[in-house]
């Protein structure tokens, strides 16, 4: 089943238009992305799926403004960011994107509160407001009582919740999760997916990159990537979606 709406730069939070990414390895050119066109609307919950080597990591780096495409246009809130420099991209990552990584990527020597505050520091938010908003975000993911714990004092699931709180704290346009359950056992992974469902219901836009069908099935829409191209872009009917149980 194809998407009903026609995605354009005008109606999408992010809109990628014929994105190519070409790496030069020695004498050879490697085509990681061969012309991807995809859009995500506000308050959508989208999964990007693909086997390893499909180009989905490259796509996620470009969507996350961590990398730039070789050719093509990338509109973020209608602004073409394809040609921006490092510092401008840093600002977009800071304000518009919340990252959740497979390996959590928390600062190991800082406590949960400081980890959540980090994006706000770079956004230039004052100390008191920073602290207040970080505590709020931690409370949102149910970790208000773990604010002063360091990552090695937290369980895997708790670490990922801290990471989600860090992603939420700047109230970004999009939350970008890369294999968010990859390092968690299935029960804890399920907890995180339930949290994502809640975030979606609260009006957030979510983009989850994964190679697991079970994870992707939580989303409303799955974009399948293969050999650097969009293979299929389908809406998931409510009846086929996995809805995590409401209790742990």
């Amino acid at each position: 089943m194809q998407t009903e709406i026609e995605h354009t730069a005008e109606n999408s939070v992010i809109f990628l238009e014929n994105i190519q990414k070409i790496y030069k390895m020695g004498q050879e050119f490697v085509y990681a992305l061969r012309g991807v066109t995809v859009g995500v609307q506000r308050n959508e919950y989208v999964a990007i799926m693909g086997p390893s080597g499909s180009g989905k990591s490259t796509l996620m780096n470009i969507i996350g403004c961590l990398d730039t495409p070789t050719t093509g246009n990338y509109f973020f809130n209608k602004v073409n960011v394809a040609g921006l420099d490092d510092n401008d991209l840093a600002e977009i990552r800071n304000r518009e994107i919340g990252f959740v990584f497979q390996t959590f990527n928390l600062l190991p020597r800082s406590d949960a509160l400081h980890n959540v505050e980090l994006p706000l520091i770079y956004a230039g938010v004052g100390k008191d407001e920073r602290r207040e908003r970080a505590l709020e975000a931690l409370d949102h993911v149910g970790l208000a009582d773990r604010a002063s714990h360091k990552p090695n004092e937290l369980s895997g699931g708790q670490r990922q919740r801290v990471a989600v709180a860090r992603a939420l704290v700047t109230r970004p346009s999009i939350i970008l999760a890369d294999e968010p359950t990859g390092n968690l056992d299935s029960k804890t992974g399920e907890d995180i997916m339930r949290l994502f469902n809640e975030l979606r219901e609260q009006g957030n836009t979510l983009l989850v990159v994964t190679h697991e069908e079970d994870v992707a099935r939580h989303a409303e829409r799955i974009v399948r990537i293969k050999d650097g191209l969009v293979e299929r872009d389908e809406m998931i009917p409510a009846s086929e979606r996995i809805v995590p149980g409401s209790h742990t």
Binding site: L66, R95, R109, Y122
Partner: protein, 403 residues
């Protein structure tokens, strides 16, 4: 942030700082010593007076010693002629000296004392102040009375501060009666100071040490310290007249002042300071290289952290300043420790090695402290800039993937 990083690896931070600490200690001690030496020398020289010129056979400053040896000796007659001619002099005295005489009083002996023969004006030209007794009078001068004035150290060491007035001591075996003690002048090198001197009438001097044709020194004190250069010029002119030198002929006498010593010594101080800075600066350089090395290691170790920071929105400048701050803090802390150690060492040396009454003291000034901290900061920035630059240039994708 930077502080947390330092605390995370205290032993490594401490070892890294050691280089800077040692560097700062050596640089500041060296510098305070040279400054102390410099001040002490200028103090010691000031007894001569800035406004006094000495007409001698030899020039103190440079010149060909062998050629100067053939110059005529300076005589009492020339001194008197010069005195008559000079219009810009407050006082002119003539004196002779023996650099090393032996004093004996009872069973006490004192060696390496300078003995001066002088006229009455000597008291004015050499700014002599009497501590006890009096200077010799005209009568004692003309009749070559065996009397003398002694310096403070002589009084202290030969008479053990007992009343010396009226006592007779032997100077190279020649008996002299003490009639006065000069006020303590202080000074770095004993034989340049009146403290280590005895002064007697010129005629008495000739009786005691013989050789009345020896060369003398004429001391000319300027009327006004502000126009002392005029006095110097006049002294040269008038001395040429006394000697009957023709125009174009070279001076066959030297005209000297404390400036000669001071200029020479200032040159020496600058040289010492430069050599000292180069040598001690090497240890700072080594320390700086250590900091740079540890910063490179730190950037490498924290590649992932840098990736995280970039992912959540740190701009290049922010990463750069984080690592620069860290390197600077390392150096400032090390510099402060170094300064404290150096200050402690300076106090110890001043008290226990040089002694509190030594005229050479290590000078620890605010300028020294501030420049020590400034140098530390400079090294921090200089050695941190390259690693910090490298950190700021890291690609966020690669950095996040780094294991």
């Amino acid at each position: 942030m930077a502080r947390a990083a330092l605390r995370a690896n205290p032993l490594r931070s401490a070892l890294t700082m050691l280089g800077i600490i040692i560097g700062i200690v050596t640089v500041t001690l060296m510098s305070s010593f040279v400054t102390g030496l410099h001040d002490s020398f200028h103090n010691a020289m000031s007894f001569m007076g800035a406004d006094v010129y000495y007409v001698d056979k030899h020039s103190w400053q440079g010149g060909n010693w062998m050629m100067q040896r053939n110059r005529p000796n300076i005589t009492v007659q020339e001194a008197r002629d010069l005195e008559r001619r000079m219009t810009t002099a407050r006082a002119i005295s003539v004196g002779a000296s023996e650099w090393s005489v032996k004093l004996k009083y009872g069973t006490n002996e004192l060696e390496n004392i300078r003995a001066a023969g002088a006229d009455r004006q000597y008291e004015v030209t050499n700014s002599l102040d009497m501590d006890q007794g009096r200077f010799f009078g005209e009568q004692e001068l003309t009749s070559a009375r065996p009397v003398c004035i002694i310096g403070y150290d002589v009084w202290d060491q030969l008479f053990h501060k007992s009343n010396p007035i009226g006592k007779t001591m032997r100077v190279n075996g020649y008996p002299l009666e003490v009639i006065g003690v000069a006020k303590r002048a202080g000074g770095m090198f004993g034989f340049w100071s009146v403290d280590h001197e005895i002064i007697m009438p010129l005629q008495t001097f000739f009786s005691a040490f013989g050789d009345p044709n020896r060369t003398l020194t004429i001391a000319i004190k300027a009327k006004n310290v502000l126009t002392k250069e005029d006095t110097k010029a006049e002294a040269i002119y008038q001395m040429r007249m006394v000697r009957g030198l023709k125009p174009g002929e070279d001076d066959n006498f030297g005209i000297n002042s404390e400036d000669a010593f001071n200029t020479e010594f200032d040159k020496l101080t600058v040289t010492l300071q430069m050599i000292g800075l180069v040598i001690t600066g090497l240890s700072l350089l080594v320390g700086g290289i250590g900091i740079m090395n540890i910063m490179f290691v730190s950037v490498k170790e924290r590649t992932r952290e840098i990736g995280i920071r970039k992912a959540v929105g740190a701009r290049r400048r922010m990463i750069l300043s984080q690592f620069l701050t860290e390197a600077s803090m390392l150096c400032i802390i090390a510099g402060s420790i170094g300064l404290m150690l150096a200050f402690g060492a300076a106090l110890y040396i001043n008290h226990n090695v040089l002694g509190t009454d030594s005229t050479v003291q290590l000078h620890f000034s605010l300028v020294l402290i501030l420049s020590g901290l400034g140098i530390s900061l400079g090294i921090g920035v200089a050695s941190g800039i390259l690693p910090a630059w490298r950190a700021s240039k890291l690609d966020p994708v690669d950095a996040l993937r780094y294991e």
